[in-house]
């Protein structure tokens, strides 16, 4: 079946470096994508979203890139901080319906 998946289970980065978290999706009908951050024992926290008619969107220290040709989504975090350590999920949405989540990747920031 169609699914959203993440390439790497863990990512370790040095504090201050930039982080790039990647996600592949397989449903070409998806028209909206979200990145969520989940800290231990908490619910998913909205980070940034992007619609399928865009290929890049920037927030505060974060950028999401969407490549519809290869069905790839990435989250870039600039100047990674210890507080960025968490599990990151990409999620896709089709026409205002449910979110389908990827498996999650753990970002670990080394001091």
């Amino acid at each position: 079946g169609e699914s959203v998946g993440l390439h790497l289970p863990t990512l370790s980065v040095q504090e201050g470096d930039n982080s790039i978290i990647n996600c592949a999706y397989s449903n070409s009908a998806s028209d909206y994508f979200i990145w969520y951050k989940q800290e231990s024992g908490k619910g998913p926290q909205f980070i940034i979203d992007i619609r399928s008619n865009m290929d890049k969107r920037q927030g505060q220290r974060v950028t999401v890139l969407l490549n519809k040709t290869v069905k790839h989504l990435s989250l870039q975090i600039a100047a990674t901080q210890p507080g960025d350590s968490a599990v990151y999920f990409c999620a896709e949405n089709i026409a205002n319906s449910k979110l389908t989540f990827g498996k999650g990747i753990t970002l670990s920031v080394r001091p």
């Binding site: 909206y32 979200i34 969520y36 908490k42 619910g43 998913p44 926290q45 909205f46 979203d49 999920f89 999620a91 949405n93 205002n96 319906s97 449910k98 979110l99 389908t100 989540f101 990827g102 498996k103 999650g104």
Partner: protein, 112 residues
């Protein structure tokens, strides 16, 4: 900043018992959802609710599950007869227009 709230934070129940998980969505939101996350796994969709009816449900959401919006603020998930495999974190989410979904802190359900 408005947020989704959920109660209780942790619910322990015996197999076969009924549980009700409660959520207060963000006040001007119109779309409501329940998701669950088994420990160490990804978040899974259960059900969406709009205009006082279920708009979509997954195969997980069988006839043991039900949702209700009993008043203008609460949104509940009921599991009629809990099974061991229902143990998970249950997240409520709400959305103003059906896209950007905001999640609550979750209820940890432990079935013994």
């Amino acid at each position: 900043e408005p947020e989704v709230t959920q109660t209780p934070s942790h619910q322990v129940t015996q197999m076969g018992q009924e549980v009700i998980l409660r959520c207060v969505p963000i006040s001007n939101h119109l779309y409501f959802y329940w998701y669950r996350q088994i420990l160490g796994q990804k978040v899974e969709f259960l059900v969406s609710f709009y205009n006082n009816e279920i708009s979509e449900k997954s195969e997980i959401f069988d006839d043991q599950f039900s949702v209700e919006r009993p008043d203008g603020s609460n949104f509940t998930l009921k599991i009629r007869s809990t099974k061991l495999e229902d143990s998970a974190m249950y997240f409520c989410a709400s959305s103003a227009a059906g896209y950007e979904q905001y999640f609550g802190p979750g209820t940890r359900l432990t079935v013994t």
